[in-house]
Subunit: 138 residues, 2 copies
DNA sequence: TCCTACGATGGACACAGTCCAAGTCAAGAA
DNA sequence: TTCTTGACTTGGACTGTGTCCATCGTAGGA
């Protein structure tokens, strides 16, 4: 994830301890934290970090295209650092766990012109829903 | 939409003026209102209706399967009365307009077993994003 | 080492949604 | 038709999520 820090520095980002900690917390695969979770984990490393800073930093990462915002339910947005590999999401309806998945086909190709209503369609996000192994057992 | 009222009565719903008004407001195609919008339109017909009742009624309609909850952004949930015809959504990134669309293929068939991580996958929702004709012009 | 513009802070605010105790009323019973 | 009752509605308090802003602090160039 120091790749990320390097890229950010290259873009003229001022490197502060707060930003470093937020980037560090977002490292890894299948990471889909809410802003509050990011704040909690960041605060474990840097106790004084404020909520506003976490929101600011996440917002910047999103507009730089380094992190993707995911709205799996109508509740808190989740932040996905896996922004450089196109993928979709599989969500457990019970516990909310999210996994990154890679379907065989891009759904964009399956939306015929007559169903586009004159829109310039740029992207398609798929949310698969079901039960994760743990919740299916219970 | 009196179909809906009939179905609800058949299911033992007590028919109150509030519920009638909420059902009436949700009538139509390409309707994707937020709870607050439903409340505003319902209040135009029945001024005393409360926010809590609108939320209760929407929640009941959703659990009866008569209305679908849509989370197109991380903000307010939207309510879609077109629950009996499977479809997906096309959202304008600029103004938020939503249209119902019908792709040629069900994306569920394109998620191979190795990408299911042991989940029991039940459904797939596709959100297409782009610019609507009006916003593309501006 | 000094400067300063960019970033961090925390507290107030706005919005979305939930919960609850008390009052109201739809619809079946008599 | 009136009575009864439990389901429904109400408004207000409360929680969670996200935004805004004035002020303070500091990274990094001169």
């Amino acid at each position: 994830m120091s790749d990320l820090l390097d890229r950010l520095r290259g873009r003229g980002w001022r490197m502060t301890s707060q930003r470093r900690v937020v980037a560090q917390v977002l490292d890894g695969d299948h990471v889909h934290l809410t802003a509050d979770e990011v704040h909690a984990r960041a605060a474990a490393l840097l106790p004084e970090i404020s909520r506003a800073t976490v929101y600011n930093t996440l917002g910047e990462l999103v507009s730089l295209g380094e992190v993707i915002e995911v709205a799996t339910d109508g509740r808190a947005r989740r932040y996905d650092p896996n922004a450089h590999h196109p993928h979709h999401h599989l969500v457990c309806s019970e516990c909310g766990t999210v996994r990154d998945v890679h379907p065989d086909r891009d759904p964009l190709t399956d939306l015929p012109a007559r169903e586009r209503f004159g829109f310039t369609v740029a992207a398609a996000e798929v949310t698969y829903r079901g039960l994760c192994p743990d919740c299916a057992k219970a």
